[in-house]
């Protein structure tokens, strides 16, 4: 596994411009959760991150549904990466993504009708979640299916965790509950504002601010040590 001068992944048979550098599978998974978290770092998929995160159950369901779509799409984009001509690749990716969104939507409606009802109009909108098209174009179309799946799991988990963080804070403050379980009793006056759209912007902003602050702190500490 050498052949590094150009940074070409040794496992790929041919050179592909802009291919991601070689990495172990755990590293492919971990990247989506941490350093390249789709919501908190890449700032992709912000629409669902704010629209459906007014309760933890909705946030988790949206995260899981998006992850399933991501898995199916990245797998198929990677499998057919040599068969799809470059001129029609975006069209083909959108077709693959839309197919999996429909499949997941139907499966959800059949198995978890309540969650499906709560997500309602936001399910079909996963098609235009730029995180998924982004991963298909930037990663899955340039690597073997195994790496694409690892990436999908990492990005999916990272997306779900970001949504869970936002929706957890919003449900706790906006409804005084978590997963529908009342935590503060009847004397708690819920901050209705938090479950409305502005609460989404505020929560996401505060979480990103906190994350940036922690990153900054760690960087300056590392510098002080060095």
């Amino acid at each position: 596994m050498t052949d590094h001068p150009t940074g070409t992944p040794a496992t790929e048979a041919v050179f592909i411009p802009g291919a991601p550098p070689p990495a172990t599978l755990p590293a492919d998974v971990w990247r989506g959760i941490s350093r390249e978290n789709p919501v908190l770092v890449q700032m992709l998929g912000l629409c669902p991150a704010m629209a459906v995160t007014n309760s933890l159950a909705n946030g988790l369901a949206m995260g899981a549904a998006t992850m399933l779509v991501l898995l199916g799409s990245e797998l198929f984009v990677s499998l057919f990466r040599k068969a799809i001509p470059g001129e029609v690749r975006i069209t083909s990716y959108v077709l693959i993504i839309a197919t999996f969104v429909t499949v997941v939507d139907l499966a959800l409606a059949a198995s978890f009708p309540d969650i499906s009802k709560a997500l309602g109009p936001f399910m079909p909108l996963i098609v235009v979640n730029c995180m998924i098209l982004g991963r298909a174009e930037a990663f899955a179309s340039k690597v073997r299916p195994v790496r694409a799946m690892a990436d999908a799991i990492g990005m999916g988990l990272g997306f779900t965790m970001a949504l869970a963080a936002v929706s957890g804070v919003r449900e706790l403050l906006g409804s005084g509950s978590l997963l529908g379980v009342d935590l503060f009793g009847p004397s708690w006056e819920p901050w209705v504002f938090m479950v409305m759209p502005p609460g989404g912007f505020l929560t996401l902003g505060v979480i990103m601010l906190g994350l940036a602050w922690v990153t900054d702190l760690r960087r300056s500490r590392a510098k002080a040590v060095a």
Partner: protein, 223 residues
């Protein structure tokens, strides 16, 4: 980047000008056919479960608004009269339905209808139960709403609001306080006035629309 990569992936292919048109068309045609086949298969597998959930939701709503009927019948609106037989409508528009609820000894205890009209954000759809003879409501339940979480969605969750409709006689009048001075007054929710009024308007319009139809059906005799 560089020309001459014969076996490149998609990005490299984009560099070579001129993939033959038939290959582009063939790729999209095959992808479209596979996608269509997959969706059709999943649709066929999931359809029974999805229809069962919808029927369960409808039954639960009828059961709730008619206060636990022992049984119920479905009437269909065809033209401008009610009929007991469902007309053939494969894939056509949904036919408006009335559910007649009966107690254990077969007496009608009320009818349930569904109706939807715009609320604050989107259409609010209700299942409404009332007694056609007296005109009094037996209750209502929200089938679908997308009102503001925490405010407008109280029309579904606030039992002080939903509980006051049973026994009231439409046309209802929404008031901010002192509800109950007359049998048609209901108290609106503070902070959700528009959503509350939407509920009241939907109930008033639905009862006004359906009462004569049901009266005509009753006149026609219990055939």
């Amino acid at each position: 980047m560089t020309a001459g990569h014969q076996h490149g992936g998609p990005a490299a292919a984009a560099q070579r000008s001129g993939t033959p048109a038939w290959r582009l068309i063939a790729t999209l045609a095959i992808a479209g056919a596979m996608s269509g086949w997959l969706i059709a298969s999943v649709y066929r597998v999931t359809l029974p479960a999805i229809e069962r959930h919808a029927a369960e939701r409808e039954s639960a709503a009828i059961f709730e608004v008619l206060k636990a009927p022992a049984s119920w019948d479905t009437l269909y609106l065809v033209g401008d009269a009610l009929t007991r037989t469902a007309p053939e409508t494969r894939g056509g528009p949904k036919i408006p339905k009335v559910f007649e609820g009966f107690d254990a000894s077969g007496n009608r205890i009320g009818v349930a209808i569904t109706a939807g009209e715009p609320g604050f954000q989107d259409v609010v759809t209700l299942m409404i139960g009332f007694e056609p003879e007296s005109g009094a409501l037996t209750g209502f339940t929200v089938l679908e709403q997308k009102e503001t979480p925490g405010l407008g969605d109280k029309i579904e969750r606030d039992s002080a609001f939903t509980g006051q409709f049973a026994g009231r006689t439409p046309p209802l009048l929404g008031v901010k306080d002192r509800a109950g001075a007359t049998p048609s007054e209901v108290q609106t929710i503070t902070g959700a006035t528009i959503s509350s009024r939407a509920v009241i308007r939907i109930i008033n319009n639905a009862v006004a629309r359906w009462s004569p139809l049901i009266a005509a059906w009753d006149q026609g005799g219990a055939k």
